[in-house]
Symmetry: C2
Subunit: 285 residues, 2 copies
């Protein structure tokens, strides 16, 4: 379906991610519409030729014409939106999303969704420390991962379309994981790292430290500039996994502290060598 | 003294930092010599015109001619070197260093040093994940901090020379702190961050995660590739401060975890907003 550019794509939530989707897909020739909160986002996107049409209202015509609908909303807003407006979907429409947690969203939406509409969940692992359609770019996904999280309810065709969408968007890696595998992985790689960054940024109030800050501290706290509404919601939605990961981190950190207290240089060096060795795996290929 | 390019500078330990010092200072016209472990480093540095002469031996003539000696050695090697070879220094010579901890080094060396030779400690806050003179560069210190840590034993002239050295080397910020202030600051900004990175890199052995790694995890673990000999020594040398900082971090991390366990969204959001606000202070100016 996706390579048929006569199809109409609707983006709900025209922010940094939604805007980047629109920018890239518009170039391929798709008809792009958007529904979003702010009129200024619509105005900007039309002026920049990122979308063909848009509305700040639940526009029945725009929704009813869309073949593919991409939701880029906060998780709970996404669920509510589907509950309230799914009657307007075109029969046969495909729905996907950008939500950063999957278990709590995917099953809930698939369970309540009309049988003639399909939802294949996906997570574009990309972001920046700025927001809004004005900061969206068509290079947003270069080097990034796109993860499709299908379930038993999905058809091979819809999964394939979602995979193709990831490729069209320019992601460097497009893969599939179960919602469970996704949430475990994201709990460690993304949520735990944000917990650490926020903690590091708030654990020491000493003044004037910014004068002496080098790259290490800056790197570890880049993501400490954080959207508090979204991330607190993502943390809660993946609570069981995240707490597990936080415990794992705390245990290892306590181990290192104990080695330091005991002057166990050999133990610390062993841990550092293991760290160096494992980090090599994570270099950009 | 330093702006008098007829003076001779000796660098002991010609690695990444020592090599970068040599490269930059050679350009100003100083006579640069080096004493280092590997003949290959000397050969490379002479071929590249980074130094004028060098030796892998404790060369009495090279040492005796130097007006300024820069030590770029592991902390305990530095102390031993001074103990064993200080009789060879020229009277009136000035000594400085690059050591990443100060309290444990500065007083020890100043106490044992010949009265006609002066040691002003300094810490160039710069590094890379590679080592060796072959990776040294003359852009190494752009954007970085150079911290001079004088004591009551230092003369204003020698402190001033050390400050000028930092400026000549191209550091963006040259400041002074007491050894105590330095160690507290570095315990937080540099040592704690390395503890966190090493812990994050070793706390979860699950395979294939590198396939899904985004920029957040990469940023937080860049420094997890670590020189185990040097950093374990630096940790031990600043043990009291570092353990304090580790406890502060753990307490705050446990606080965040408790909020998550209790579904305390308001508490988490407050912490995230504080984090976002504080992080803005640390942006590169």
């Amino acid at each position: 379906m996706i390579v048929d550019v006569s199809k109409k794509i609707l983006i709900v939530g025209l922010g940094l991610l939604g805007g980047s989707y629109a920018r890239i897909l518009k170039r391929f020739g798709f008809h792009i519409s958007a529904i979003t909160k702010e009129q200024s986002s619509i105005d900007y996107a039309i002026k920049e030729n990122i979308i063909d049409e848009g509305s700040t209202e639940i526009d029945e015509k725009i929704i009813g014409e869309a073949d593919l609908i991409i939701f880029a909303l906060y998780p709970h807003v996404f669920v509510e939106w589907i509950e309230q407006n799914q009657s307007m979907f075109k029969s046969g429409a495909l729905i996907t999303d950008v939500t950063g947690v999957k278990r709590s969203i995917v099953y809930q939406i698939q369970d309540m969704l009309r049988p003639d509409v399909e939802f294949v969940a996906a997570h574009p692992m990309a972001g920046r420390e700025v927001s809004g359609v004005e900061n969206s770019t068509d290079k947003m996904f270069v080097g990034a991962n796109y993860i499709v999280t299908p379930t038993d309810k999905n058809t091979p065709e819809a999964i394939q379309t979602c995979i193709e969408l990831g490729r069209l968007l320019g992601f460097s890696n497009v893969t599939t994981l179960s919602p469970e595998e996704h949430d475990e992985m994201i709990g460690f790689l993304s949520q735990l790292t944000h917990c650490i960054a926020v903690t590091l940024m708030t654990c020491n109030d000493k003044e004037n430290m910014e004068k002496f800050t080098g790259d290490s501290f800056r790197d570890l706290t880049r993501i400490a500039r954080i959207n508090d509404i979204m991330w607190s919601e993502l943390f809660i939605a993946n609570k069981d996994v995240l707490i597990q990961q936080m415990n794992m981190f705390m245990d290892k950190f306590a181990e290192l502290k104990e080695m330091l207290e005991k002057d166990d240089v050999d133990g610390m060096r062993k841990m550092m060598r293991r760290s160096t060795e494992r980090r090599a795996l994570f270099d950009k290929k």
